[in-house]
Symmetry: C2
Subunit: 235 residues, 2 copies
Amino acid sequence: MVLLSGGLDSYTTAAIAGQLGFSLYAMTVDYGQRHRREIEAAKGIATSLGVCQHKIVELDLRRLGGSALTSEIAVPKSSDEVIITAGRIPVTYVPARNTILLAVALAWAEVLEIFDIFIGVNAVDYSGYPDCRGEFITAFEKLANLATKAAVEKKGKFRIHTPLLHLSKAQIIREGVKIGLDYSLTHSCYDPDERGRACGRCDSCRLRLQGFAQANLKDPLKYMPHREINRKPKI
Amino acid sequence: MVLLSGGLDSYTTAAIAGQLGFSLYAMTVDYGQRHRREIEAAKGIATSLGVCQHKIVELDLRRLGGSALTSEIAVPKSSDEVIITAGRIPVTYVPARNTILLAVALAWAEVLEIFDIFIGVNAVDYSGYPDCRGEFITAFEKLANLATKAAVEKKGKFRIHTPLLHLSKAQIIREGVKIGLDYSLTHSCYDPDERGRACGRCDSCRLRLQGFAQANLKDPLKYMPHREINRKPKI
């Protein structure tokens, strides 16, 4: 079972699980994220990976608020430096998101009697997100084995796999390209335009572009052209 | 923050939290349970307790299957003995339910910067449910404090309160009646009729009726009349 968001990390994670010999069941939670193009990307990725089943579950976190990704808080952008810095948690943090995603995946995994759950969390670039750290994952794994009938009845022991946990974005991209992944299928931007093109300036775009640059590879994604500022208006 | 299902336990839990001096924020997760009358009961209870806010979040667990409460698996009934026995997990178990409920409550609690979460789990009568045990609650509390920006930034420490954990159903009812609760507001039945009347025969009804009997109190709820079997048909 793999949590598939439609982004680069979860795509790579799913592909790695496939390479390890697992049959893939993909779970996407539509939590009302602003970047809804992600859901469409997740469908394309699931098809391309030949998953056994792809389940999309709706849970509208917009009703709870508290994040730039699900409410009216502005997505921060910068044109000169990467905004995410270690030790500071960005406003794009979604309260308890990975706890919720893993809980819903756990429910479906239990029904299917699948005990290996993959999630593309990464502690290097997103060091600000508390629910992307190894200690969070370890605590959830422990919880899963206490919470469920399947584990208590010893049908299996849940394992939460995080193959990207200690990789940099550049390392993830290199790994993916090596196993033949098509990153044009993915969507990373927090704030795309109406045509679905990435902004190139939000945290997520900038980490992605920086990753491709450091890996000496070209990002196949379409970005919206940057408007020049202070251009003289035509009369 | 209290998880309010519309049942007797969560009502009593919320009232106890109020007695302890907490302002109440109620969260109900509409997970597609068969006994949808519960949601209406939760609304009535929230009003009667004068909560500051009552949030109902939809998450359709029917799409995942695996439980008599959310799928087409029949709700077991017996007319002669209580079906739940220690050590056996009933088919009314909903995969990872309390993990999901607590995760969603945690998200809203984090947004509101509320650090006390109440849940009406009970390890005595429902000893079969793995996610009603104290060790599960302890593991979730630990997870909550690793998972969230609010805890990592030391705005507070999450506590999961379970005032009913070690009480029998009769003790819960006695406690509730003592503080003036109106249990006619609650709904417990897993399989009510179209008029919302309780069946009196499912696990949940039987535990409730047994609890009232042991407490020497009368259940104010309306039950459907039991049809006599093998009655001669009228010609």
